[in-house]
């Protein structure tokens, strides 16, 4: 009975804390704008299949490259498909892939970083050298190679993106662990004879969680950038799936007279990336972490 009360209390506290953070984030205009944009995109991604006015893959020679009108709000593309339909559907794949990709990146990057920071020594040296080596290969080269040899399905893209964007988190998690490792509560946990696993779980993770979450939020926007770049280059999702990167690259050749089919996906993608960025920045500030001096690694 008493136990139940305590856990309930804990959960309530967690919810209150999350609400508190959200409130701090929304108290500044940039954070509010960011949160609104992200919320808008998430709601749109969830509801767009039901509100899309046309079939996204319906090709029609009669409606090729029409300018925006009452029937086709954003005009039509070179295959006669409705640009409005394809634009509101275009964020679904990108959001899903990058969300799960960031989760994977957070998990493996965070845990490996904490582990390396805690044990130190030879293992740490070797792992960090390998991470450095991976960091020095341009992500785009590695991603393109993987995708071109394994295919462009989401089952390949999610783990591949998760892996390549996690190596930077390893460094952040390791540095954050180094910051807390010398504190008294770790020393006393050691003295009490706790195992490494228990120290990681009970002492380190609660203290480095904020830094890692902020890094993950930031990486989400970079991953979105990377994912849409892959689509743009023709190595992401395959047609006729509606995707902003793909739409931009298809419409680019014709933009001298059909600029609407390139503007709509540009607005969609840019607003989402800016929204996630502003949100991540506000999140960092709400948690009291300064990211402004970090380089984009």
């Amino acid at each position: 009975m008493e136990n139940n009360l305590i856990t309930e209390d804990k959960q309530k506290n967690k919810l209150e804390k999350a609400f508190e953070i959200l409130k701090t984030m929304a108290s500044k205009p940039s954070g509010l704008i960011g949160l609104t944009i992200v919320l808008f995109h998430v709601v749109l991604a969830l509801t767009s299949p039901y509100i899309a006015p046309y079939d996204y893959k319906a090709i029609s020679p009669n409606t090729m490259l029409l300018a925006p009108s009452a029937e086709h709000w954003f005009g039509t593309d070179s295959l006669g498909r409705d640009v409005f339909t394809r634009t509101i559907l275009g964020g679904r794949t990108a959001l899903t892939v990058t969300f799960f990709g960031s989760l994977i990146a957070l998990l493996w990057g965070g845990l490996l970083g904490i582990f390396c920071g805690l044990v130190g020594g030879k293992i740490d040296d070797v792992v960090m050298r390998v991470v450095d080596a991976f960091l020095s290969i341009p992500w785009i080269l590695a991603m393109l190679l993987i995708v071109s040899l394994l295919g462009t399905s989401t089952e390949v893209l999610i783990p591949a993106l998760g892996f390549f964007y996690g190596k930077g988190i390893v460094r952040v998690a390791r540095a954050a662990t180094h910051d807390v490792i010398a504190k008294d509560f770790i020393v006393s946990a050691r003295a009490r004879g706790h195992s490494n696993m228990s120290i990681i779980w009970n002492e380190i993770i609660p203290n480095v969680r904020d830094a890692i979450l902020v890094e993950g939020a930031m990486r989400w926007s970079w991953m979105l950038l990377g994912f849409s770049s892959l689509s743009f280059l023709g190595f992401g999702v395959s047609p006729p799936t509606p995707d902003w990167g793909l739409m931009i690259s298809n419409a680019r050749g014709l933009m001298s007279f059909a600029y609407w089919s390139v503007i709509a996906p540009i607005v969609g993608l840019s607003s989402l990336i800016i929204g996630i960025n502003l949100t991540a920045d506000a999140f960092a500030k709400a948690l009291g972490i300064d990211r402004s001096t970090k380089a984009p690694v």
Binding site: R129, S229, G245, I274, S292, T293
Partner: protein
């Protein structure tokens, strides 16, 4: 000091060695070898045999790695599959073109970033800062292919000022390049400048809040003298590393920018070689790009060491 420098160089070399292992093992582990991926459906009979023989795929992997690695150290990357020519000949003009693009962007980007960073820091939260910071956030977050596409749409198509895409062969001369690279340079330096300006801004703000600057103010040092004498030297030093990382990070972005503008540099070669499934060229590119990354970081580290007297006596930084 000398030991520290040697140690840094050693670490860089180890990183490169691991990179070479990763690229080699990666290509081995991923399905299909260089010949079957390249020939695709024609991968049978004499064509396959000839290809395997030429690349030496019939000898064990570790021997091939040693062979390949020792050639790479001597600057020989072997043969490209698609062009049937030495990879060095393929790479030569591309490296030159990319260097031209990168150095012009850096020459424009770094001074601009420093000026913008200082302005935004000194007029923090006032109108100039809010305006410039909003622009930097936009140009920093928007993907390269979007800013490049918008540049083409606005400057080349709607205004008609400049050619939208680069239509020069990869062996064009320096002067032919210059007239064609304005838009790509703008696209690249926009992002780079934004990143660096933000870094300079927060660095200057940090130094402005430090005790010795407060001391200088209390002592009555004139404002601008204080900025140039006390703030800037201390604020710009940590920026060196970030500048290096930003430049290195842009290697990935340059790939996309070069494709959008059809610029014949290393970045487009990455896409071309991967589309052609020309694995030997991909391996060579991985090593070259990784060396650039390691090299730039090494130079930045050494510059920080040289310029910062406090670090000379310290142990190697983590």
């Amino acid at each position: 000091m000398l030991l520290l420098i040697l140690k840094r160089i050693g670490l860089g070399l180890i990183t490169l060695f691991i990179v070479s292992l990763i690229t080699f093992v990666g290509v081995e582990v991923l399905p299909g070898d260089a010949c079957t991926t390249y020939l695709e459906r024609e991968a049978y009979g004499t064509a396959l045999d000839a290809c395997i023989k030429r690349l030496g795929l019939d000898i064990p992997a570790y021997e091939r790695y040693l062979d390949w690695a020792s050639n790479v150290v001597r600057g020989d990357f072997g043969y490209s599959l698609s062009g049937e020519m030495p990879i060095n000949e393929v790479l030569g003009p591309r490296v030159k073109n990319s260097l031209v693009l990168a150095s012009v962007s850096i020459l424009i980007g770094i001074p601009l970033a420093i000026v913008l960073g200082i302005i935004t820091a000194l007029w923090r939260d006032k109108l100039p800062d809010i305006m410039i910071s909003t622009i930097t956030i936009f140009s920093m977050t928007i993907p390269e292919f979007i800013s490049a596409t918008l540049l083409i749409l606005i400057v080349a198509i709607w205004l008609g000022w400049l050619p939208g895409i680069v239509i020069i062969p990869s062996d064009a001369t320096f002067y032919e390049l210059l007239s064609n690279i304005i838009l790509p340079v703008v696209a690249i330096s926009m992002i780079m400048t934004a990143h660096m300006a933000r870094m300079v801004r927060s660095s200057v703000i940090q130094v402005m809040a430090s005790d010795y600057v407060q001391m200088a103010i209390l002592k009555g040092v004139p404002y601008w003298k204080m900025v140039f004498r006390h703030v800037l030297p201390n604020a710009l030093l940590p920026a060196i590393n970030v500048v290096a990382l930003t430049i290195a990070w842009l290697l990935g972005g340059v790939v996309v920018t070069e494709v959008v503008f059809n610029y014949p540099g290393l970045g487009r070669l990455v896409i071309e070689s991967i589309s052609n499934r020309d694995l030997p060229v991909v391996q060579a590119l991985a090593i070259i790009l990784a060396s650039i990354y390691v090299g730039i970081n090494l130079i930045a580290d050494l510059m920080t060491l040289m310029l910062n007297p406090r670090l000379k006596s310290l142990q190697i930084r983590k």
